[in-house]
């Protein structure tokens, strides 16, 4: 029988003392399939310190029938150029799980000088040797069997597995899962707290249902609500549904670090096996990798944590939000949020709530699953990872969970092996220490960033990018561990600016250059195909593919400098960055020497920004083309630059911190967009006013190109603040109460406020998990003690601490921006003199209380110059003002005096 399937997951089992590989996938018809392959054995290599016969004897004596075969082979070592292959031993075992034991024995007994590929996971060993890549399509030919151990619809023992072409994905089933627990306060404890509800959302529908909620207590049932008498029966039903629906993807929001570990624990407590996967011999695997972070695996299925994907997008700057809760992300991405139920009330509603309240809770729970599923599907979050899997070979779950190095090494294993090279093992602790020491002594010079010419540019700036700079460097200069010269040769070598030699491609073409060349060329081919493609779905998939190819090609840049990498060579990493530095600096000199009106104002790694004299954007593009040609002619095709865009206005504050309005030309049409790097416009500890002010300031500078308007705007905001005209809503700062009060160390504003509210209005007290809104009011105590409930502030008419909002909220983000355009902070405060912040207020107070100048003070809060009103928190030694030499006095609530008389 022949079956065509898209590969989702793989593992192996020991059957009759030998390993059998299991490949899990989906057919075009939507059936789940498991393809078994027998007869493949684990192996690894080493350079022996003795003869093959001696080694075989020692190994067989120690391990008996575990050792199947000991062969003598010849392979190339990967690190350092050697003309000839090296004699090695290849040892085959019967049991993959015993490879570490044998490896350690060989090392301990000094049977080897070097060991290779003795830490490759068996499934990936198999996949590399059979040229099998995650998420690609394969045809398996073999015999269909039945077994109760495997739960897929079809099970085949294959004789042959061959790849087949396929761009479109199989019709995957997606299940979104969310749980609610009985935890009343603090973090849910999987040992004590129970699951009270499990919400499931399906795509496609399950038995005509798009969602179901399993509820762990008797309540009013509904069509899509299933009632259970207890947690155990609810968990049993979950297993039945999963078996019956047989999803390929299980998605959730923070499912990795909360729902799945919690579920696993509850299965244990209820003495149920957590068999959520496609085989009965492997339960849900949940491993803690860090405080509050887990990795999970469900055999045969792929777990997608939408929260983790969103966070990755945030790190790349593709999405910027203050908070990344499901509610915030849902509203932002698809215009829908959670059902409003206070998290801290869930336990109470569950215990004491009436029918209606419980129904609302059920809908709250259901919405979480539905919302996550919608975000996953509508935003098409998984496709780019699927393409990455197809390129690098890793299974999709590992593409989601592992870092860039794992993806690269999967590709390296295949390509190096194909060409007769073997990879070293991952470094052990001793090797890691050696590498870290080397980095300290030799240093690792990162990518070059040119010193920016800080300021606001209102004339066009041409932004040019080096096309695939680092992959091109690998290719042009044949940089690879396999071409790295480790002896004294001088002939037929290329010397990097760092002074490291690589053999010329005529002697040996490096493996990494070949890989990156393939990736770049393939990407170019896909992009051409995209231009011709009319079908939107195919175009979308092609786009995901070319993005994945770009990501893989660029990922090689940092790999040789990655201390945990198999092919770590510091000299290579430094060579690559030295070439990058060379290109950037050479290009700058070339541009500026070609035309006096071309000025390079910034350059970072593989891009430069050139100020040009142009009267229009179109003219700037023409000049940019000129620059492009000049540079490309100079490099004679070895390196290419391309205009990315022209900034019609550009603000640069510091290295890696700039913003501008970029104009791109797409098919003759101009497309404008705001580009920001290293400048946050949202932060979770900012109030609404800060975000507004920052956005507005950037707008004035970049769109209106007016520094004066920006200054006047900030002055007006400060004035409004001082006059109490700013809406209190805009001053609210929000922080989550993430743990019990006594677990907080130190003094925090929202915690102090909750303590106050506990005494004042216990019925309104926020609970753990709730968000606390507060504003900072005026007063003598520490800022943290002056956090107040906005409602209370309005009720009691309390004064806002305008100094705090000016100094700690508004000024910090915009100060740097104004400094970059040559504006000192003093300009922002009224009369342009270098006065301190609150002098405006004091001046006003001072002038109001001139007649009461000689009032007796019983206390003081700071000092003030009686002539110019400047406020001091520390008295100058001379007791006179630095600015105007006026006499300084004590100040308290606007009144001033040169003497303080405290009452007894």
């Amino acid at each position: 029988m022949r079956v065509s399937f898209q590969l989702l997951d793989a593992d192996y089992v020991m059957l009759n003392s030998f390993p059998t590989v299991r490949l899990f996938g989906k057919t075009k018809e939507g059936e789940s399939v498991c393809v078994l392959y027998e007869g493949y054995l684990p192996y690894f290599y080493f350079i022996p310190a003795k003869s093959r016969e001696e080694v075989e004897e020692i190994l067989k004596k120690e391990f008996g029938s575990l050792i199947v075969r000991v062969e003598e082979v010849e392979r190339y070592e990967s690190i350092g150029f050697r003309e000839n292959k090296t004699r090695m031993i290849k040892v085959y075992l019967t049991d993959p799980s015993k490879v570490p034991r044998v490896r350690e024995f060989i090392a301990a007994r000094n049977l080897a000088t070097k060991i290779f590929e003795a830490d490759i996971l068996f499934k990936y060993r198999f996949m590399a040797d059979f040229n099998i890549f995650g998420m690609r399509w394969y045809v398996a030919e073999g015999k269909e069997i039945r077994t109760s151990e495997i739960k897929t619809r079809k099970i085949i023992i294959a004789d042959k597995i061959e790849e087949e072409e396929g761009l479109m994905n199989a019709p995957f089933k997606v299940l979104s899962l969310d749980i609610e627990t009985t935890a009343k306060e603090g973090k849910p404890d999987s040992k004590k707290d129970r699951i009270i509800m499990i919400s499931l959302a399906f795509n496609p529908p399950y038995k005509d249902k798009t969602s179901l909620v399993l509820v762990g207590k008797p309540t009013k049932a509904g069509d899509d609500i299933l009632i259970f008498k207890d947690e155990r029966s609810m968990l049993e039903e979950l297993l039945r549904i999963i078996d019956s629906y047989d999803p390929d993807f299980i998605v959730g929001y923070n499912i990795n670090s909360f729902d799945l570990p919690f579920l696993r624990r509850r299965f244990e407590e209820n003495k149920l096996p957590s068999l959520l996967g496609r085989a009965n011999d492997k339960p849900l695997l949940s491993k803690k990798i860090r405080e509050d972070r887990y990795r999970n695996h469900i055999l045969g299925r792929v777990i997608v944590d939408v929260y983790e994907i969103i966070k990755e997008m945030a790190e790349k700057g593709l999405i910027r939000l203050k908070r990344y809760s499901l509610d915030d992300v849902g509203r932002f991405l698809i215009g829908e949020g959670k059902v409003e139920v206070k998290h801290s009330k869930i336990g109470e509603i569950w215990e004491k709530g009436g029918n209606e309240e419980i129904l609302k809770l059920i809908e709250y729970s259901r919405r979480d699953a539905v919302l996550t599923l919608r975000i996953f599907l509508e935003k098409r979050l998984i496709e780019k990872y699927i393409e990455l899997s197809k390129i690098c070979g890793l299974l999709l779950q590992d593409v989601l969970d592992e870092g860039e190095a794992a993806k690269i090494e999967s590709l390296l294993l295949r390509e190096f092996n194909k060409r007769g090279f073997v990879l070293p093992n991952k470094p052990d602790n001793k090797e890691m220490l050696k590498r870290k020491e080397e980095r300290e002594t030799k240093g690792f010079k990162g990518a070059t960033v040119l010193e920016p010419k800080v300021g606001l540019y209102t004339t066009p700036i041409v932004y040019l990018d080096f096309k695939s700079m680092y992959p091109t460097i690998y290719i042009n200069f044949n940089i690879c561990p396999t071409t790295w010269v480790v002896d004294e040769r001088d002939q037929n070598v290329i010397v990097s600016p760092y002074g490291v030699k690589f053999v010329r491609p005529e002697i040996r073409r490096g493996v990494i250059p070949q890989i990156v060349e393939f990736l770049i060329n393939e990407r170019d081919r896909i992009k051409k195909e995209m231009k011709k493609e009319k079908n939107e779905e195919i175009k979308f998939l092609l786009d995901a593919k070319q993005e994945a190819l770009k990501r893989m090609a660029n990922a090689f840049y940092g790999y040789t400098g990655y201390v945990r990498g198999r092919l770590y060579v510091l000299d290579i990493a430094n060579s690559i960055t030295s070439y990058g530095r060379y290109y950037l600096e050479t290009t700058k000199k070339l541009v500026e020497s070609t035309n006096r009106d071309w000025e390079v104002i910034y350059g970072d790694t593989d891009s430069i920004m050139v100020k040009v004299k142009a009267n229009s954007i179109e003219e700037a593009f023409e000049i940019g083309k000129n620059i492009e040609n000049t540079v490309n002619e100079y490099y004679k095709g070895k390196m290419t630059v391309k205009i990315e865009s022209v900034f019609q206005s550009f603000l640069i504050i510091a290295k890696k911190r700039y913003a501008g309005i970029a104009v791109e030309l797409e098919e003759g049409k101009k497309k404008e967009k705001l580009v920001m790097k290293g400048i946050e416009t949202v932060r979770k500890d900012w109030c609404g006013l800060t975000e507004k002010v920052l956005s507005k300031v950037l707008d004035f500078l970049l769109r209106e190109k007016s520094i004066e308007s920006a200054i006047n705007y900030v002055k007006s905001v400060i004035r409004e603040l001082e006059e109490g005209k700013v809406n209190i809503e805009d001053l609210i700062i929000t922080k989550s109460l993430s743990r019990n009060l006594h677990e907080y160390k130190g003094v925090q504003p929202h915690v102090e406020l909750v303590k106050k509210m506990m005494k004042r209005s216990p019925e309104k007290v926020p609970m753990v998990g709730d968000r606390v809104n507060f504003v900072i009011v005026a007063g003598p105590e520490l800022v943290s003690k002056r956090a107040e409930d906005p409602e209370y502030v309005i009720e009691k008419g309390l004064k806002i601490d305008t100094k705090y909002y000016i100094e700690n909220q508004i000024l910090p983000p915009i100060e740097r921006i104004f400094e970059a355009v040559g504006i000192k902070r003093s300009v922002l405060f009224s009369n342009g003199r270098q006065t301190s912040l609150t002098s405006l207020q004091i001046q006003r107070n001072h002038s109001e209380t001139k007649e009461e100048k000689s009032v007796e003070l019983s206390d003081f809060e700071n000092f003030v110059c009686q002539k110019c009103g400047r406020v001091y928190f520390s008295l100058p030694f001379s007791a006179r003002c630095y600015e105007c030499n006026g006499e300084i006095a004590f100040s308290f609530n606007g009144a001033v005096s040169s003497v303080v008389k405290k009452s007894i």
Binding site: G746, P749, L782, S784, S836, L875, F877, A879, E887, V899
Partner: protein, 319 residues
């Protein structure tokens, strides 16, 4: 006799005294001659407490252990000039300590800093007079200047701190690279009282003697040569920011050699500034603490004492 005179007397006889012995002799001057003779007979060079005890046992004598509690005396009516004087005194004392405890290179006064050329470095000592997000203004007796610093560094500085700043001229700006505090030597040894001292919020017990402790922001207790300082946790809270632990804040205040540096926060003027660590305590107890804690730091035994508990100083325990 003053202490200096006692030291000179022993030195002229080729003898040195440990600080504890000096204190005891100062308080019990009637035994000075006898100790002098005893030590000469023994051929001793240094007189430490062991030798002192031996001598006393030999002579069948006892010394009085004087216990003194010093409270701050507040000045209730003060002028701006009074405050300036106190700050200048503080600057004098702490700048001397700064220079003694740190290897400061290229030390110069703030008035000369204007002459620094681009790229030139210097170190200055000053009192913090003003702060912005990225800079501080400092003053010495010659001038005042503004120095650019990293925002995180500025955050940790308090008004009226006396610090040294290593800095350089960068175009129009002065850019600070490193901050030095007056600090304590690493080589201080721990000193414990001879007999157990038990301290609670309301009293101190030294052997069989009990002394009432009045509620104050700060107090110093001298038990013979042993120094025990007490400070109310409310003082430390004034300087504690979000996510900071009180012990870390206290240690940073100790390093500044002033437990309540910002005058506008303390708002009280005292005849003698007991917060200024011109003397280093052997033990420092923070009263009204939220949680009990013991931590030795550069020879000082630090205790955080909640209400209702007591410190056993010699045993280094909180009960």
């Amino acid at each position: 006799m003053e202490k200096l005179e006692i030291v000179k007397l022993f030195l002229s006889n080729g003898l040195q005294l440990t600080p504890q012995v000096l204190e005891r002799l100062f308080q019990n001057q009637e035994i000075i001659d006898k100790i002098l003779e005893f030590a000469k007979q023994r051929g001793a060079i240094i007189i430490d407490e062991n030798l002192l005890e031996e001598c006393l046992r030999d002579l069948k004598m006892e010394t009085r252990l004087e216990i003194k509690v010093v409270y701050p005396e507040e000045i209730r009516e003060f002028s701006v000039e009074d405050v300036a004087r106190v700050l200048k005194e503080r600057f004098n004392i702490l700048s001397t300590i700064l220079q003694e405890n740190n290897k400061l290179q290229n030390l110069t006064s703030l008035s000369r800093v204007k002459r620094l050329k681009k790229g030139e470095e210097a170190t200055v000592i000053g009192m913090i007079k003003d702060k912005t997000t990225y800079s501080v203004s400092i003053e010495d007796f010659t001038s005042h200047e503004t120095i650019q610093l990293d925002a995180k560094v500025v955050e940790k500085l308090f008004y009226d701190d006396v610090v040294a700043i290593k800095m350089r001229r960068e175009d129009e700006k002065l850019v600070g690279d490193k901050i030095f505090y007056p600090s304590l030597s690493f080589f201080r040894r721990q000193t414990l009282p001879e007999s157990e001292v038990i301290v609670s919020h309301s009293e101190i017990k030294v052997g069989k003697e009990v002394f009432e402790l009045a509620e104050n922001e700060v107090a110093r207790v001298y038990i013979g040569g042993f120094k025990l300082f007490i400070i109310n946790s409310k003082v430390i809270e004034k300087y504690t920011r979000e996510d900071e632990k009180s012990i870390d804040v206290l240690i940073s205040l100790i390093e500044r050699r002033h437990l309540n540096p910002s005058f506008f926060l303390s708002r009280k003027l005292y005849k003698k500034d007991l917060f200024l660590l011109d003397e280093i305590p052997d033990t420092l107890i923070v009263t009204h603490a939220a949680e009990p804690l013991y931590k030795p730091y550069k020879g000082i035994n630090i205790f955080f004492l909640p209400e209702g508990r007591e410190v056993r100083v010699k045993e280094k325990r909180i009960e």
